[in-house]
Symmetry: none
Subunit: 215 residues, 4 copies
DNA sequence: TATGAATGAGAATTCATTCAT
DNA sequence: GATGAATGAATTCTCATTCAT
């Protein structure tokens, strides 16, 4: 197929001419950013293999060759996207202090509570693979960290004798987050597809409570 | 990338010479079946775009041109895989009679309780897109049907005034199933990665109970 | 530049439709051979970097993709050419039994005494580099072997105390051969450019005699 | 290949900051010279097509765009290099007064008797082609002039009835010079590769004597 | 004079598909 | 039914060159 337009997912961002090109000198950073944004969306919604560097460049409104200039290769661009996403998620994970916050965080990352679509794409991108070993490890590392974080606010400690049970449950919570993300990526499944973070909050609360609260 | 070997997922089935080519008669059906199996696995684990028809043919131990002979195109092969998966899942959905069965069914379809890997790949394949409209609709149709089935055993009826709440919850249950599937597809996330259906059953029971049981 | 037509060197062989394609089955070897021939000529006259795989395929009258099919890459094709040339030259070196033969061999390899152009291109190709390490070593290995062979018919023995002198002289003889080759490759330098093997024989005899005959 | 570092040949001249940029005035000429030097070396060792303008600019430690500024194009830069080399060689040819000088001149131009590497690269560059007609003619013109010069000190006169014999022999002498050059350019062929001008002088004397001395 | 940014043409390679045996 | 050969349309990447500061 020619995935010129992402079938699932929001419309490709128009050439993003908010704030006109700063006329040349020092425009590099801006261009880099535009590419990163388009790539992130494309990779997240269409996957690595189905995404064309030309798609990305066109979405960003810049010349294709600049991808190689700024990221060395399609692979390099993907890695850069992944790094950005991981940074964001590491940050988000750091903010989780107790069980009560978990449902809200999941809801906002799957349904989008913020203006930009970034967080909504983040989890999706995390599931895309370029086939490269290094990125594969980055991904697994983050997932491990994330589930340990969830487990730890539920009382899990590394080396815990019966820890596996709690860790597994934390990973099931993580599963919900990813599951919502992938199901929302294929549109038309109402009411989930257009549920707001608020809609999701209550059921998620009960779910997290059932899985992670020790009684 | 050269996805000659699927990184995640079980080893590509050896040219499958269990039962030697039945001389001549009926060889066509056999070949068709071999291709269908290999394709299903490849598409599920590597995705549509990253999978090469040559990969599939090699896995199946047959000539590449036969893919076009039997399925008209790569796209056609994908559609055939999807159809098979959908049939299986429709069947599985039909068997769900009450809430208690749900955790077990999810567990067996995500962790594999049966000999073949088929069920394990089924959900994964359902998330892969070839970009084609028609397959997209098939997929959405199945998901809709599936979540309505889940909701209905929890008491939901079409046209229900407050039905959306229950339908959404059913879709969250579905989300867990898909979430587990995608997380298990990227290896190394223990204990989830190697959890058995049995390991998953108890927490899933609590989860389903929390989400779908009316009190 | 667009080196569609080799400026120096003989006209690119016409699509070589002597002996029509054996209709399909088993045609692979023929195609391989056609490519090898065209490549050899192109690489020899235009150099590796200036030669386009499309040039080669067009000369051979076959589809470009077949280069990758049969030789895996442009680099692989170059290596195959080099191997062929080296084989030929090793063979030629083996035939050198005494000093008197040397001038004739050089003459025939630089001016071409045979029908095909092969030998004429051989030395030229040997000077072309693809930048690859392995081919670099093959080349140097052959040159070493060749000069030792020349030296040995002049009485040189490995480990010879004053051997370096003779070896150096043998390499000067080799230099003439390559020098003639490169000068003939840029056309228009008469009378050398169109000298026949016979024209070269006498002066070469005197040259070899002066350099390698011990008195 | 990515010919970022010339495999054969001396190390690329470090950004050449001997004598810091003379403030402003005359910086242009300096830059031009730096580019000319780097280009000459690159073109000589890697060939025209395999050399990147970026390689040259980097070697020279200046911005790529300056190549177009000062030489209009890669082609223009090559032509400038060629002109410089030809001037030098015309000068050298003019100095040849009798047969005895020839071996020394060849030795010094192939093995380098002078401090800079210039002369060593000169002959090599002369063998490189950009595919452009005009430079091709310049090259051939020089070669013709050079061989006539050699022949003339051996007694040849234009229009000489039996002149071709002598002219051919002169071109064979020229061949040795180029042959040595190309063989030394692919390293590892000892003792030739590291022979000094002195090492070459004696055998060359005998060679020239055998070819050009009339008896 | 110098430089970072941007562009467009072209190069190698991959891949689904069709053809002829 | 099955197979090796061949094809043409992409796709990624490189590179000389031009632009605007």
């Amino acid at each position: 197929m020619k995935a010129s337009s992402s079938p699932a997912g929001p419309a490709p961002l128009a050439p993003a001419d908010n704030s006109p090109p700063p006329s040349r000198r020092g425009a590099g950073a801006r261009t880099r950013g535009l590419l990163l944004d388009s790539a992130r969306r494309r990779f997240a919604y269409d996957g690595y293999a189905a995404t064309t560097v030309r798609d990305i460049a066109d979405d960003a409104g810049v010349n294709v060759a600049l991808i190689n200039r700024y990221f060395r290769s399609k692979e390099g661009l993907f890695e850069a996207c992944l790094k950005a996403v991981i940074d964001e998620l590491v940050h988000a994970a750091g903010a989780v202090a107790d069980l009560e916050q978990i449902p809200g965080i999941i809801a906002s990352h799957t349904a989008g509570v913020v203006a930009t679509d970034g967080p909504r794409d983040a989890l999706l991108l995390l599931l895309r693979s370029s086939g490269d070993e290094r990125t594969e490890e980055m991904r697994t590392g983050l997932l491990r960290m994330f589930s340990e974080r969830l487990a730890s606010v539920a009382g899990w400690r590394p080396g815990d004798p019966d820890g596996d049970g709690l860790l597994l449950r934390a990973q099931l919570v993580l599963s919900v987050a990813f599951g919502i993300t992938v199901l929302r990526a294929s549109p038309g499944l109402e009411p989930l597809a257009s549920a707001t973070a608020q809609d999701l909050a209550e059921p998620l609360r009960e779910l997290v409570d059932a899985l992670l609260t020790r009684r």
